[in-house]
């Protein structure tokens, strides 16, 4: 027997999608989609070209950014954003606790479960900015509308995660507390709460972080916070102030992220 007779088998990498027809169909579909999408995207290249020096001016504005020119407006916006963040996180979490308890399948009756799940689904399906438009219409311009928006969004986020965490808890502990003859409130307090608490504190801090980022944008539609200041700075082409605001936002987000990571490690 010659070597050539046994050698022709060659190894090939196994593909991500095993079925060849699906692989080819997907590839072809992606190509057709890309052609269609790129073909129908209207781009005004003349305007893009015109804007490039403006972009360069914007990046130049970062070196150095102008913190002092609009210091009063920036400080006011940042304080407004931060107070919106604090109030909406506290109020949102306070509201989401009963709703989250009601939306956990293992502790709530079916009627309550579907009702609470419905509330969570509604509050999660809207973008913060769309909610903000409506709350501005209802409550008038200003941080109150923003705080309500963020509280509403917090309920959807926190309530869902709380409900899921309760559903994943250890039933043995809950059973043991119930066996001592504890009432419903005692049962929640001593069996459910200690099990979900460490994770929920972490998620509360994470939501604080999200709320601050969002509070920076709801101002664009008039719901208070630093977003309004930023929007104005861009519209007046005051890139140096805009750069300062962006750097402050990035700084605060990083600060909150690091400190919340630290607190989370300390709690758990």
């Amino acid at each position: 027997m010659t070597v050539a007779a046994v050698a022709p088998r060659q190894w090939k990498k196994p593909p991500l999608i095993r079925r060849p027809w699906l692989r080819w169909a997907l590839g072809l579909g992606v190509l057709i989609y890309l052609a269609l999408a790129l073909g129908t995207t209207e781009v005004n290249w003349a305007r893009v070209w015109e804007g490039l020096p403006r972009g360069a001016r914007f990046f130049a504005a970062f070196f150095p950014p102008n913190f002092t020119g609009r210091a009063d407006d920036i400080a006011e916006g940042i304080f407004e954003s931060l107070s919106m963040t604090v109030t909406s996180t506290v109020i949102g979490i306070a509201i989401s606790i009963p709703i989250g308890l009601g939306a956990a399948k293992n502790i709530a009756p079916a009627a309550v479960y579907y009702f609470c799940r419905g509330i969570l689904a509604i509050s999660r399906s809207f973008q913060e900015i769309i909610l903000a438009i409506f709350f501005v219409k209802l409550f008038g311009f200003g941080p109150f509308a923003g705080a309500v928006t963020l509280s509403f969004a917090t309920v959807g986020f926190y309530g869902k995660l709380l409900a899921e965490d309760i559903e994943d808890m250890d039933p043995a502990t809950a059973e043991a507390v119930r066996a001592t003859g504890a009432g419903w409130v005692q049962w929640i307090n001593y069996a459910v709460q200690p099990q979900v608490m460490p994770r929920m504190i972490g998620l509360g801090l994470y939501r604080f972080d999200i709320n601050f980022r969002e509070s920076a944008i709801v101002g664009i539609v008039g719901a208070g916070g630093i977003g309004a200041t930023l929007d104005t700075a861009f519209n007046r082409y005051e890139f140096d102030s805009a750069a300062a605001i962006l750097l402050i936002i990035i700084g605060i987000v990083m600060l909150v992220e690091y400190s919340s990571g630290y607190v989370r490690r300390w709690v758990q």
Binding site: T40, E42, L82, M84, I130, K137, F144, L230
Partner: protein, 271 residues
């Protein structure tokens, strides 16, 4: 265990006295801060406007119903643009995020001291600025339109994708990489045969997950002029044609639910 002697009997406490006081102080400071913040917001609120919110809501409900179904024909194009912004933006983001993630992962980065901090800075700054702010910036620079939306979605998603991807790269099984290297493979071959097959499922999952989020975000980018279904939404709100607003909102919800369903299906198929 904290036990205190009181009137000759031992009383059990959950915590030591010091810890008890510290927790009390934290609660006090937190409450004070909360009240102060409420005060700050309350000072800037015009309460008569808040008081008639129920009347406003009832009025709005009357004006929004029924949705103006005749307008649906004009929404096809903006919806297509929204879809394109999300999809092309995600494609742009994952393309750019891959090298960033490669540089940020501790086990693949060319230099821990120099390249890794730069990659991490890119990730953090991309993540901390919302897509809407990126759009605001890009609209003033390159003009309104779909391109600004695609770039905004892309720039915002780089950080998210790169962060998840570099965590996936750091969690790979080093033994497989070692085995490929032991066959005498070059650096590029180690990457293609040792690392990429291990992170490909995570990569696909991350892309689809981010695509789903991006559909949600691209629906509102039009509010600052970056194309998509947000443009007719903004126009309808400014002209107070609330029946059109309600129709657009219904379509947005339907799109978001559909994209969530698609993404859940695809991720289920991958994992």
């Amino acid at each position: 265990m904290a036990v205190e002697l009181r009137h000759g009997t031992r009383v059990w406490h959950r915590r030591e006295r010091g810890a008890e006081l510290a927790i009390w102080a934290i609660w006090l400071a937190g409450t004070a801060m909360f009240v102060y913040c409420c005060q700050l917001i309350s000072d800037k609120t015009i309460w008569p406007f808040v008081a008639d919110a129920t009347a406003q809501a009832a009025d709005l409900a009357v004006r929004m119903l029924p949705p103006d179904w005749g307008f649906i024909g004009a929404l096809g194009r903006p919806l297509w643009d929204t879809l394109n912004m999300a999809t092309l933006g995600t494609a742009l983001a994952v393309t750019l995020a891959t090298p960033v993630a490669y540089c940020a992962a501790r086990n693949t980065t060319p230099s821990v001291a120099l390249v890794r901090p730069i990659a991490l800075f890119i990730i953090v700054s991309s993540r901390s600025i919302n897509a809407l702010i990126w759009a605001l910036m890009l609209v003033t620079i390159i003009g309104p339109g779909v391109l600004a939306g695609i770039l905004a979605i892309g720039l915002r998603s780089i950080g998210f994708c790169a962060k998840l991807l570099y965590e996936a790269i750091e969690e790979i099984d080093e033994r497989q990489v070692e085995a490929v290297r032991a066959t005498g493979a070059t650096g590029a071959q180690v990457t293609t045969y040792g690392i990429i097959p291990q992170i490909l499922p995570a990569f696909a999952g991350i892309s689809v997950f981010r695509w789903d989020i991006n559909i949600r975000e691209s629906t509102v980018l039009g509010l600052v002029g970056a194309g998509g279904i947000g443009l007719p939404l903004n126009a309808s709100i400014t002209t107070l044609s609330w029946t059109r607003v309600s129709l657009i909102l219904l379509i947005i919800i339907a799109t978001v639910i559909l994209s969530e369903w698609v993404s859940a299906k695809v991720r289920h198929a991958i994992i």
